[in-house]
């Protein structure tokens, strides 16, 4: 499999960029320190207050000190904010995906292995989760929860709570097929308990479909996080996230185009790289799998 993936040029490119982004996210403080900046310090002197607070100077105030210029309205260093933004964007997406996979497998396997009633009950729950529009409900939920809970964690939790339906559906379907396999029957004939069957016989069979699905879930969740931050219910200041930066950039279209372009391009690039990784995994692991998170 690894050999197959190595030959997939899209996958390799995606994996490199995605890995780089994860690295950037992890080493954000280091990178910012390297640039000699942090993401909270205001630089009012670099702004033209009379013109609404646009960075003075060409190209959004790019200079030797501020490699990518400064944020209009505050003068905070854009490079520092972008690398810290990666932390939230990538971190939330990864955490949410992990949680979704956990929830989805638990519910899916329980439904698939359980009796008629358990399956019917859990399936309705899964249907409900699949049916609700994630963004809309996330907005409601985030408006209700106390504001002082740790925000990135909360975002990941909310996204996961509303988004595990897909993983659960796949796990359930896959479990239903796997449980008809004779090797499951063989294990049962040998006297294995349901728990043992789930662990030994079902779970290994789920890895490929779940892995490919989860790989696509990461960029999807990243989009959701960005969307929530865009709607203003995401991270709280002064923490930056690409979605939040894009959201505040909307009023600076013409006055400071770079401010729109940088987070936008970075977000797109990262998403694309994760999609490429997912695509490669899908082809390598399970050529028939076409399911895509929606």
């Amino acid at each position: 499999m690894i050999r197959v993936l190595r030959k997939d040029r899209g996958f390799v490119a995606g994996a490199v960029v995605a890995g780089l982004m994860v690295l950037v996210a992890i080493t954000a403080p280091l990178l910012a320190a390297l640039a000699g900046q942090d993401y909270t310090t205001y630089h009012d002197t670099l702004l033209d207050s009379a013109r609404g607070g646009v960075p003075s100077g060409p190209l959004g105030g790019i200079s030797g000190e501020h490699w990518l210029g400064v944020e209009p309205g505050t003068g905070r260093d854009l490079f520092a904010r972008l690398v810290y933004g990666a932390q939230v964007s990538v971190g939330v997406a990864l955490a949410a995906t992990a949680l979704e996979v956990l929830l989805g497998i638990t519910f899916g396997v329980a439904a698939g292995l359980g009796g008629r009633w358990l399956d019917a009950g859990l399936s309705r729950v899964i249907d409900l989760v699949l049916a609700v529009p994630i963004l809309v409900l996330a907005v409601s939920l985030l408006a209700i929860v106390p504001q002082d809970w740790p925000r990135p964690l909360l975002l990941a939790t909310v996204i996961a709570l509303l988004g595990w339906g897909g993983t659960a559906r796949i796990s359930r379907g896959e479990t239903l097929t796997l449980r008809t396999r004779d090797y499951v029957a063989a294990a049962q004939v040998s006297g294995a308990s349901w728990w043992r069957v789930a662990r030994r016989e079902i779970l290994p069979g789920l890895t490929a479909p779940i892995l490919t699905y989860a790989a696509l879930l990461i960029p999807y969740n990243m989009i959701v996080e960005a969307g929530l931050s865009f709607l203003g219910v995401g991270v709280r200041p002064p923490t930056p996230s690409w979605g939040q930066m894009l959201s505040s950039a909307t009023t600076w279209f013409r006055a400071d185009p770079l401010y729109v372009f940088l987070p936008g391009a970075l977000l797109f690039l990262t998403l694309l790289s994760f999609v490429l990784v997912a695509n490669g995994l899908r082809r390598a692991l399970d050529p028939r799998q076409t399911e895509v998170p929606r």
Binding site: G10, R124, D127, L128, A131, V132, P133, I134, L135, V136, V139, S140, L141, A143, I144, P146, L216, P219, I223, A226, G227, F230, L231, G243, L246, S247, A249, T250, F253, R254, P257, V260, G264, L267, F268, L271, L272, F274, V275, L276, N279, T290, V292, R294
Partner: protein
């Protein structure tokens, strides 16, 4: 068929019931008080208590919920000034914020959301299927590559990013299009379409990627099926095989998706509606959530659930209509 419908409707009602209960429960847990907003600046506690009573939010939540269910089934009377206001049968109450009947608000928003969804869907189907076919038939290798790249890119852009870029390009730089504001179809069809064009396109770019991918893999899978070999063995021309059989097999899953996707856009396109200022269902909900406008929130949730349930049923019926193998159960 009748039995199917009855069971289906029963199931749908159950889902809707749980959904509303859930939303009521959530807002019960929420620490905010809708009466405070309504009462306004400088509201004294005594006044607040009066307002709360006037709004009917002084009862315990289960009682309120019961009244709500009653109103839904049998209509409901509200004390409002000199006369009593009667809210007829599917009564969802009155908005706390504007005092309009929630049903009116919803009916007002549905056309907007529907227009958005339908247009976006048509665009995405046309472009998605077109691109998917070009790639699926592998006639031209380069085209396949290009379409593939576009499909991947489509998966990788968030709708608001597309929206931003489109706005930047067409409204700010080129100024070919006005900044979008919703114009009802009945007022001016041309303006209507002109203003909806960007939202449509930004939704379609992403949706089309999904369809293209499905079409492509569908065509390739169908072409590998046994009955295609039979057709070839009996000399059926390749073109006929492609158009009549492969495409049909490939488009089948799309039929189901179409209904569900329309519902998805109608209920979930919050970002697009916010971005382009479209007064649709999603925007209504976001506003209502911010204003703790419980009747509107519950109303939108119910409508959302209803649309999704109806769409799913429609998808099943459609599927049964186009695929003779499927039996409704």
């Amino acid at each position: 068929m009748t039995g199917y419908l009855i069971r289906r409707i029963g199931g749908a009602l159950l889902v809707l019931f749980f959904l509303t209960t859930l939303v009521y429960g959530l807002f019960y847990l929420a620490p905010s008080d809708p009466a405070i907003l309504t009462c306004g600046k400088g509201c004294t506690p005594e006044r607040l208590a009066d307002v709360r009573a006037a709004m009917g939010v002084d009862d315990p939540i289960p009682v309120q919920y019961w009244h709500f269910l009653e109103g839904l089934v049998a209509g409901r009377d509200y004390p409002a000034g000199p006369d009593v206001r009667h809210c007829p049968a599917p009564c969802l109450g009155y908005s706390f914020e504007t005092d309009q009947p929630v049903t009116t608000l919803l009916l007002d928003r549905i056309p907007v959301s529907f227009a958005l969804a339908l247009g976006a869907e048509v665009l995405s189907l046309v472009f998605g299927i077109g691109a998917g076919m070009l790639a699926g038939l592998r006639r031209f290798r380069i085209l396949d590559r290009v379409v593939n790249a576009l499909i991947l890119a489509g998966y990788a852009v968030p709708v608001f990013l597309v929206g931003l870029l489109l706005l930047l390009l067409f409204c700010v730089h080129l100024q070919w299009l006005p900044f979008p504001t919703y114009v009802p179809l009945t007022t001016d069809p041309l303006l209507w379409a002109q203003n909806l064009l960007l939202p449509w396109v930004s939704l379609a770019i992403i949706q089309a990627a999904v369809y293209a991918r499905l079409t492509r893999s569908g065509i390739q899978e169908t072409l590998a099926e046994d009955h295609i070999r039979t057709a070839r063995a009996y000399g059926i021309p390749e073109r006929r095989i492609l158009w009549r059989r492969a495409l049909r097999g490939a488009l089948l899953p799309l039929v189901t998706l179409t209904a569900i996707d329309i519902a998805g856009i109608m209920t979930g396109a919050v970002l697009t509606e916010t971005m382009f200022g479209l007064p649709g269902v999603g925007q209504l909900l976001v506003g209502a959530v911010r204003q703790i406008d419980l009747p509107v929130v519950v109303g939108v949730t119910l409508l959302t659930g209803l649309i999704i349930v109806v769409a799913n049923a429609a998808a099943d019926l459609l599927y049964a209509a186009v695929d003779p193998r499927v039996q409704l159960r």
